[in-house]
Amino acid sequence: MSRQAQSRPQPTTRRPADSEGQDEICPVCKSSRYLTPTLRFLINPECYHKFCESCVDRIFSHGPAPCPIPGCHKTLRKHKFRTPTFSDLQVEREVDIRKKVGAVFNRREEEFEDLRAYNDYLNEVEDITFNLINKLEVEETEKRFKAYQRAHEREITENASLAEQERASFAALQKEEREQARSRREAARREDAEEKRQLEENRRDVLNRLASGQDAESVAKAGQQVHLKKRMDRAAAAERQRQLQAASASNGSGNVVIKGLRAKQKQEPEASVDPFGGLSFEGRKYYALQDDYVWAGVQETKADVLIGAGGYDVGAFTGRALCEAFAGLGVFVGDEMDERDREKMGKENDEMATKGAEVAATKGGNAAKGKVKDVKMEDPF
């Protein structure tokens, strides 16, 4: 192992030529693969220095010991040693780090509502990964990593179990597919054999008939017809089978999960409650209500103790009288008809108009309806 690799990982230092020569020599005992073809190298994810199997046995069998590479003061344990997957140990280390980061930052695309948020998240993950790999701001990055882990403990385990489930179901699916393919092949083979057998049978039948002295031509024709019919039957059966499979496949596609961003949910801040539900009777344009009217009828009513004690509201009466007097003013039936017709064009399934509206339209003096102004009925609150 080169000195360079000990001090700092330099991705560029690794060249195929390197691994051919130096990498085949154990840096501790200097035994090389050339002399001992059974040589196996092991690494420890603490420092990614590699030693041959026998050195690991020799040095670490009696418990933890410091890394024998000069300048590396990591304490290594034997049970952590493993065979490297990649010959390039930088790649090995990067993969390990990515695994570790990925186990914590395991949010899925479905969890995000827009692409921007998802990309920001990916960027953050990559930042942390890059820093860890290249040993930049290690402490600060570790802190960020730990903080995230603590804050999202629950989601992390949830997503992990979800991923586990998916893996399991995917494995099951693959197994099933293999099973199906096998049975299909089996069926095809059986069919083939069957066809051959029938062909043979047919020929024997023809020969027998010829032997028993029947007319050669008709026998040959009949035999051909039988053969043709059987083949047609088989073709039809195969076609049916194919259709069945296609149908089941399209059924199966129903539970295919389409990955992607979560469906956008508009999280509008809830509007404050309007107790009147959008209903407003502030449409008086033709008159103004006064608190008091100097008119004998009104004054007398107001003065009557009996009427007051019963809760009769003179204001309601005057309001109604005025409303009814002015109701229908400014209502142009013709214009409304036109407008309605326009609406109807756009909205075919317009519900029935209320009878009340009709009454109001015909009798202009009908107060109740004339007063209602553009009430938005669909708004529940």
Partner: protein, 386 residues
């Protein structure tokens, strides 16, 4: 039409009606309202209308849309007296009112024998009383109560704005739509606001929900009678029991109960009450119940809720809040927010249940006790002028 400079009046129509019925002259427009009956599938119409007081039917034009048909039998007495006041009032006022919280009357048609059939909105979810009474299976939150009450108050406000007194507000007249909306139904006792010095009957509103001024036989009253009933419904929703459950159910007991639970009406807290015809001088005077006492029974709804409840159940109708004032109360806007429709508890009842609801005469309670002779429906028509 040009602007009138004298009054500075804009030329555009000030009021727009939400919907207008189509006129027969225009052949391209869909069938007008009056023909709705024709849209009903004849088969179904026959099937459902026959023998039943209520049934459901699909519209031919839109088979997805269900309607309920309420059949009013017109018997021999029609020849002598005409159609009953209940039916007349119901048809008259429901035709006028178009509000999401009021049951919609789509059309009226007559079938053979001159029976009247009302085509009503289909409300299969039963009524509010069922929810209140089913303490075992249904539980609801203050937010749900607020949502229901808000819908009820909107309906009441809408009626009053259109100068209509409902006069029979109670939980079993509050039907629940499929989407959870509350619909005020049964306008059999409704009437429009009276002119000054035009007496109205005091023998109206189901006894338990009747305001004190009617027990004192006031003949001149206004929208506040409905507010008292709404207050009773409010209290009933919170406590899940009728607030003034007088038993045996007569007026004396009711007055006694109101004195006990709200306070004795005197000339001090209700000026002029002693002049009312039916006022009886009380032997002992119970002071008006304080807010703390109210809080004891209705803590669940919170302080603002109790404040609103007290103001809705004020003895003096002049001091009682109007429907508009109720809606302006801070109770609605403060937390918790009224439940959304889809979150409200529901209890399916089906068309039969709706039939039961609509079959009931006003002033009848679901426990079926024969109470009709004392109240509501037995109205002194002479005094009505309705």
């Amino acid at each position: 039409m040009a602007t009138s400079p004298a009054f500075d009046v804009p030329a555009e129509p000030p009021y727009k009606r939400q919907k207008t019925s189509s006129e027969p002259m225009n052949p391209s427009s869909p069938a007008p309202v009056a023909d709705l009956a024709e849209q009903l599938d004849n088969q179904e119409r026959k099937k459902y209308v026959k023998g039943k007081k209520i049934g459901s039917a699909h519209l031919v034009s839109d088979p997805q849309k269900l309607v309920a048909i309420k059949k009013i039998k017109v018997g021999a007495e029609v020849k002598a007296f005409g159609i009953s006041y209940d039916s007349l009032r119901e048809i008259k006022f429901l035709q006028e009112l178009d509000h999401p919280n009021i049951i919609k009357l789509h059309a009226v048609f007559s079938s053979k024998g001159q029976n009247l059939n009302l085509v009503l909105e289909h409300l299969p979810q039963g009524d509010l009383l069922k929810l209140v009474q089913d303490t075992a299976n249904i539980s609801y939150t203050p937010a749900d109560i607020k949502s229901w009450m808000l819908m009820l108050m909107r309906a009441t406000y809408f009626c009053h704005q259109n100068f209509i007194l409902h006069r029979d507000i109670k939980p079993n007249n509050l039907l629940i739509a499929a989407n959870g909306e509350i619909k005020l139904a049964d306008f059999g006792l409704a009437r429009s606001f009276a002119d000054p010095f035009q007496p109205m009957t005091y023998n109206t509103v189901t006894t338990w929900y009747r305001p004190p001024e009617l027990f004192f036989q006031a003949q001149y009253y206004g929208g506040r009678v409905d507010i008292w009933s709404c207050g009773c419904v409010f209290a009933e929703l919170i406590a899940r029991d009728v607030l003034f459950r007088a038993w045996p159910e007569n007026e004396i007991n009711m007055v006694k109960l109101i004195c006990e639970k709200v306070g004795t009406p005197t000339d001090d807290n209700w000026p002029g009450v002693s002049k009312l015809k039916g006022y009886v001088t009380p032997s002992e005077v119970i002071p008006i119940r304080s807010k703390d006492q109210w809080m004891m029974g209705f803590r669940a709804i919170g302080e603002t809720g109790v404040d609103l409840l007290m103001k809705m159940l004020t003895l003096d109708p002049r001091k009682r809040l109007s429907a508009e004032q109720v809606l302006r109360h801070s109770f609605w806007t403060e937390s918790p927010r009224p439940s959304r429709l889809e979150d409200l508890p529901k209890k399916g009842g089906g068309i039969e249940a709706m039939g039961e609801e609509l079959k009931k005469k006003g002033g009848e309670l679901p426990n079926g006790s024969a109470r009709g002779d004392k109240i509501a429906r037995k109205i002194d028509f002479g005094a009505m002028n309705g």
